[in-house]
């Protein structure tokens, strides 16, 4: 029992990491549910990678990394909107172009500034074990913002997942709520990248919500399961990181993705036995 609990009781840095992981898990449970249900995984992935040049630029001029990430996310969302509005290119083409362009720009910026080379790993894979109080405050604010918006906009968000035409037909502004959903994804990525990293935050958005989608019959239950999977992954991942000296962020995300595949296998076996239709 000591090996499972004692590290968290004895080490303040692990307590902070666990608290940060719980906050990230709860935020990603709400936002990831909409990402999965609306099929927005690609824009989520692109946002997670697109913040890189913003973060690099901010560090180069001595600004907070989070402010740079916010600028990167804004450029990504604005750029996708501009390309799809001004051309006949599809949404995924626009996202792909900006995704790879911003990622390449970020890598060029980091590689051209010697002072940033050591930061690249931290940007991409996070600093779970180096979370400080201001990070926790920012994550708490982001969680509060996400929950408030998700509650206030729950009806149009659900309609948007069900049928975008129905949102407009019922008098809601579909484009406005779509942008609000993008803002939630961007806010989650911007705040969470310092903990789990730009590359791995996407895993926390998708894997727990994916588990929820497999086993839930209601959206609220899906969010609840996603939160449980996220928190369990945080605990198991941090524990594995402590005992085996694995990278903390990667261990947490790997646990979440592993849980997804275990549940997926179980659900597939169940369907093959009892049939897809009950």
């Amino acid at each position: 029992m000591g090996n499972f609990v004692r590290p968290f009781l004895d080490n303040e840095f692990l307590q902070r990491a666990f608290l940060a992981g719980v906050l990230v898990s709860l935020t990603c449970a709400v936002v990831g549910t909409y990402v999965v249900l609306r099929g927005m995984a690609f824009i989520g992935d692109a946002l997670a990678h697109g913040v890189l040049p913003g973060v690099a630029g901010a560090l180069m001029i001595g600004m907070p990394a989070m402010a740079g990430a916010a600028v990167g996310a804004a450029v990504m969302v604005g750029g996708v909107g501009l390309i799809t509005a001004r051309s006949k290119l599809s949404n995924d083409t626009a996202i792909g172009l900006l995704f790879i362009g911003l990622l390449a720009l970020g890598v060029v910026m980091v590689s051209s500034a010697d002072s940033l080379t050591g930061d690249l790993e931290a940007i991409l894979f996070g600093q779970f074990l180096g979370v400080n109080t201001s990070d926790l405050v920012a994550q708490s604010i982001a969680l509060g913002f996400v929950v408030v918006v998700a509650v206030v906009a729950s009806r149009p968000f659900l309609l948007l997942c069900f049928d975008a035409d129905l949102v407009s037909a019922m008098g809601y502004r579909a484009a406005w709520y779509h942008r609000l959903m993008l803002l939630l994804i961007a806010a989650t990525v911007v705040v969470s990248f310092q903990t789990v990293g730009a590359l791995l935050v996407f895993g926390m958005l998708l894997a727990p919500a994916g588990v929820g989608a497999l086993i839930s019959k209601r959206i609220g239950t899906m969010m609840l399961w996603a939160a449980v999977v996220g928190v369990v992954s945080t605990y198991v991942g941090l524990l594995a990181s402590y005992h085996f000296s694995w990278a903390a962020g990667a261990s947490v995300v790997l646990t979440a993705v592993s849980i997804f595949f275990v549940v997926f296998t179980g659900v597939s076996i169940k369907h093959s036995i009892v049939g897809d239709r009950s």
Partner: protein
């Protein structure tokens, strides 16, 4: 209840500046039913979307329920041809029908007993009340379509806009649909249906044959002549009972 359901004058509809259907003049009364009939790309769905306020009017005038189109969304019910996430969304059938009541009350108000009664009645009308607690993704395509139709009924709208409403329905499903429409009409709702189904169109008061323009407009027995059907579909057709039978294959449309 308004004195007119839809008034269209020299209406042109389409996407952006591209006109799909033009020259539509229509005056639809409450309690009436109108079928939009035409081949793929004739403008049926585009006209329905414009009536629902989803597409802007390109040219001409359009009033819905006595107001400029798009103003009275709470009094209009729209059934789209395709739904995005029926097989992904973790929703029970009753959740889908309850969505119909979202804009019938203030944002912060919880659903009322009246909402619950309307949802239940609508599900009974479409014979899906026994499926209420089933996950939507576990239902067959026909059962899902019945749930979507129950959602339309639960809006208690003055104008129902239905795009291919009988797609995937079996005979009992179609019977339930006809009964439900009769109920809607009896309380004064106007119905506009886009359909390929001639049998379904024949049950309406009025048929608009469309092919980028209005080929003919009037009662089904007057409008659905072999000549009009030839002009509408580009091939020779004649109506035999509820079916269209091909009589001529080559025609320059």
């Amino acid at each position: 209840m308004n004195e007119t359901a839809v008034v269209a004058r020299r209406l042109s509809v389409g996407y952006g500046s591209k006109v799909i259907l033009s020259g539509v003049d229509a005056f639809l009364k409450p309690g009436g039913s109108t079928a939009l009939v035409g081949s793929n790309g004739s403008g049926k769905s585009t006209l329905l979307k414009t009536l629902a306020g989803l597409l802007p009017v390109i040219d001409g005038g359009l009033e819905v329920l006595g107001r400029p189109v798009g103003e009275l969304t709470a009094k209009v019910a729209y059934l789209s041809q395709f739904h995005q996430s029926g097989f992904v969304l973790p929703l029970q059938a009753i959740d889908v029908v309850r969505m119909a009541r979202y804009d019938q009350r203030a944002r912060w108000k919880r659903r009322t007993k009246i909402d619950d009664e309307i949802v239940k009645e609508s599900m009974i009308l479409m014979s899906v009340d026994d499926l209420a607690m089933k996950p939507l993704r576990d239902l067959s395509g026909g059962q899902q379509q019945r749930v979507y139709l129950a959602q339309v009924l639960a809006r208690r709208a003055d104008l129902l806009l239905l795009d291919e409403p009988t797609a995937g329905l079996d005979a009992p499903g179609r019977a339930a649909y006809i009964d439900a429409l009769n109920f809607e009409r009896s309380r004064g709702a106007a119905i506009v249906t886009a359909t390929h189904d001639v049998g379904e169109a024949s049950t309406c008061d009025r048929v608009l044959l469309l092919a980028g323009r209005v080929i003919a407009d009037g009662p089904p027995n007057v409008v659905m002549t072999p000549e009009n059907l030839l002009e509408t579909f580009g091939i020779g057709l004649t109506k035999v009972g509820d079916q269209l039978v091909v009589t001529e294959h080559h025609h320059d449309h």
